[in-house]
């Protein structure tokens, strides 16, 4: 760092103030990044991290905020993302921004298609894309449509898109939230390589270990203000958390000994064929059960079939499947989510944008969507009761929103995730499926959500939790199942489970 600190910052924000209706998202934030430096930006959900980088990348055009941006010490005005791209600023946004129904290759070159006299040269484009993807160290068909990829792969396509051009500043907003362990390592290696090449990197993440692994400096934001900016060496985990949350956080997973009751859900010999490759099985002969008052963690790599497994149970299987589902001993047929909900199940899906929420509707409408019945008499909604219980949910989950009428889309990513969870908790379900429940949620809120889940479990709810974060699985679950390539390969109780044992059967 010594020779670098003598240099001048490549990108600098000065006294940025940004206001949205009802919230001041940024309140006089200054921030700078030097070439060859990885500068991590951390803070609670809604602290203003995404807003800051949207300003640095021209998403919010010059004039919509107060304060200045300097590039190489010269003031610049960015009116669109194109302006920032021209300066060599590449961004991977928190919310995936790929076009779903075109191929990976086309997405990578979106807006910069390789053309000869206006005619796209697909062959060249695809071969270039392949090169970029190969550099990332993953195997991926650049000619397949983006919709066919899981969230993790899509995230890597975003990375590839950002890497297409020689970039001088790379900004990553929670790039690893959707990635599995080994994908994370690939990404971190790429980032380090770029840094070695002299690029400046701004890195946002809620995974603090990861931040310490790569950051040279760390800035903590809270409520739109900078708490501190210091070299990574002078921080430690506790200090960062305290700066973020404003208090000490002792215990992420409150270890409550649950006393499992009767069997709530039993799955017998569940098998499913791959809808795209006939003859290949996606899930094979899976049997397990969950008890009332128990948290069952399901571990495994991305694509192992975890999401598909709970999809089958919840009535949204992508293909035909066989097997039996019993709820409290009785065999049930679940044809669609409505059946599943009637049977007392709830599902928080992994992709909140596509499946979890109606982003253009209000917080209120989203929260009450599932349990609207409870506020209805004869099909007419009792607004009072609805507002009342939604307000309670907002309070309990700590959803940061100016009001219940706020459009869901304008909440910060983490707060959207809390909403996706909250809409199911309005009336306590009997069996709760969580697919990556704390993706993109800050440490404080994560502890809060796990406390809530723990409480509900203690009251007799059965929880099935899929997560790619091993610490989360290990910390929260009473029992852990491991799935590999559609097969059940291991089962551990809380006391016997360790990271190594799980990885061994998962890989």
């Amino acid at each position: 760092m010594t020779e670098e600190s003598a240099q001048t910052p490549i990108l600098e924000a000065r006294d940025i103030v940004m206001e949205f209706p009802g919230v001041r998202a940024l309140d006089g934030v200054s921030f700078e990044v030097y070439p060859g430096e990885i500068h991590a930006l951390v803070g609670e959900n809604g602290a203003g991290k995404s807003t800051l980088i949207k300003i640095l990348s021209g998403v919010y055009p010059s004039g919509s905020f107060k304060g200045g941006i300097l590039f190489n010490e010269k003031p610049v005005r960015l009116f669109s993302t194109r302006d920032s791209e021209e300066l060599g600023i590449a961004v991977i946004h928190q919310e995936l921004a790929l076009v779903k129904h075109i191929t990976v290759g086309e997405n990578i070159f979106l807006g910069n298609e390789i053309c000869h006299y206006g005619i796209v040269d697909y062959d060249l484009m695809f071969s270039e894309s392949e090169k970029i993807i190969a550099k990332l160290g993953v195997t991926l068909d650049v000619r397949s449509e983006v919709v066919n990829l899981g969230v993790g792969m899509q995230q890597l396509v975003e990375v590839a898109k950002a890497m297409r051009k020689q970039c001088r500043v790379l900004i990553l907003d929670e790039p690893t939230a959707a990635l599995a362990e080994h994908e994370v390592n690939i990404l971190l290696d790429i980032v380090k390589e770029l840094k070695a090449g002299g690029a400046a990197v701004i890195y946002i993440s809620h995974k603090i270990e990861e931040v310490f692994q790569i950051a040279d400096r760390i800035t903590v934001l809270r409520d739109g203000k900078t708490v501190a900016t210091d070299p990574a060496g002078s921080w430690n985990r506790e200090k960062v958390v305290r700066a973020m949350v404003g208090r000490d956080l002792t215990d992420m997973f409150p270890v409550v000994e649950h006393t499992p009751g009767d069997v709530a859900l039993e799955v017998r010999n569940l098998s499913m064929e791959d809808p795209e490759v006939p003859g290949r099985t996606l899930l094979q002969d899976i049997s397990f059960s969950v008890h009332e008052g128990e948290i069952l963690g399901i571990a495994g790599l991305m694509g192992a079939g975890r999401t598909e497994l709970i999809s089958c149970i919840f009535g949204i299987a992508p293909a035909r499947w066989e097997g039996a589902i019993r709820i409290r001993g009785k065999e049930v047929v679940i044809r669609n989510p409505a059946d599943a909900i009637k049977a007392g199940m709830a599902l928080v899906p992994e992709d909140r944008k596509q499946k979890g929420l109606c982003l253009i509707l209000s917080v209120l409408e989203n929260l009450s969507m599932v349990h609207l019945d409870e506020f209805c008499t004869g099909g007419i909604v009792d607004a009072q009761g609805e507002i009342h219980s939604c307000q309670k949910a907002v309070g309990e989950l700590g959803i940061k929103t100016p009001s219940l009428d706020t459009i869901a889309e304008t909440l910060s990513g983490g707060n959207q995730q809390k909403m996706a969870l909250g809409k199911w908790l309005l009336s306590a379900p009997k069996i709760l499926f969580l697919d990556e429940p704390t993706r993109g949620i800050d440490v404080g809120a994560k502890a809060e959500i796990h406390r809530l889940i723990g409480e509900l479990t203690a009251k007799g709810m059965a929880v099935v939790m899929v997560s790619s974060e091993l610490p989360e699985i290990l910390g929260a679950s009473d029992r852990i199942l491991v799935i590999r390539e559609g097969r059940l390969t291991g089962e551990f109780s809380r006391s016997e489970a360790t990271q190594e044992k799980i990885m061994e059967v998962a890989m």
Binding site: F79, P337, Q354, G356, L361, M369, I387
Partner: protein, 380 residues
Amino acid sequence: MVFILIAMWLFFRWRVGDFYFSGESIAKLSRDMATWTILAAGMTLVIVSGNIDLSVGSLLALVVGTGAFLIAPEEGMGISAGWAILIALLLGALIGVYQGFLVSYFRIPAFIVTLAGMFIFRGLTQKVSAKDPRVPDDCCVNVLGFSYVPPLASWILGVISCVILASLFLYGYKRRKQLGLDAGKPVFVAGKILLPSLAILGFVYKVNQYRGIPAQTLVMLLVMILMYFIAKHTKFGRHVYAIGGNPEAARLSGINVEKTTILVFGFMGFLTGIAGLVWMAQNQGATQKAGEWYELYAIAACVIGGTSLMGGRGSVFGSLLGALVMATVIQGMDYTGLQNWMQLVVRGGVLAIAVGIDVATKNPAPWMKRLQRTLFKRNG
């Protein structure tokens, strides 16, 4: 939107003269818009649910044709008006349900289903209305077309609706306060009560100078109120917004997307039936050209009123305002005696401009923002 409307009224007042604001002219405006404004109410739900219905004009013609054919003693069958009305309404609703069925269970895009319907129903209309069946003068259907609520009763209706409106708003205000929600400034609430009340009373005052509230206008207003309520305050209405906002998330939340879609189209068909009866009454019979362009008027009214063609956003009240804009343009140009081709051009122009202004105020393109800022700086 309201400003556009007032500007247009003033403009036509200037072009047309005193007659434009007379009771007769206003009553006529409200009568002429009744049919396709009823369609616009249903269309709002259809568009909010993420669909579109291009067939309503033709379906209206078919309903009118069938109804008139059943009633007409000479050209048709001459059965009693009561049965004919029932059959006509049922026909509309069933066809709506059937189209919804094709859209939801067969996954044929609504655009295509209803485009096909537009041709099919028009074709059938040409058959049933081939002889232009006429409804006899003494038929009870004609009440819808030619009678008026007497002035005194009109006043009572007007005052009652103002009182209801005021108490609803005040109640809502109080409750939001109680719940600690943002209730808005008292000034705004007062404005929200006063402006519509003024509009209602003004309207009643004016039409009373003529003959009272026209029956079809009353039907239209009742339909609008009903649909407003359904959209905002029922479970079904909320589901419509949800499936328009994100069908996938709606389904995962246990909403029966297929059933809701079918119901939406069913409502649309039923309202088309009602609009058809009004049309039949107004014209005392059917023609092959009944309801031409109506689907486009209805869609235009919705869009001018702020309903998003992408689904998930819109309100019935907005569509009523949008319909007023459309009606004002249509009527105003009749008065100015422009040639037909010019009228069409102006109609299209107004549609584009009205939506353009709406978008510019709600969600301006970057260049507009920049322009606004530079203009603003110069002034301040």
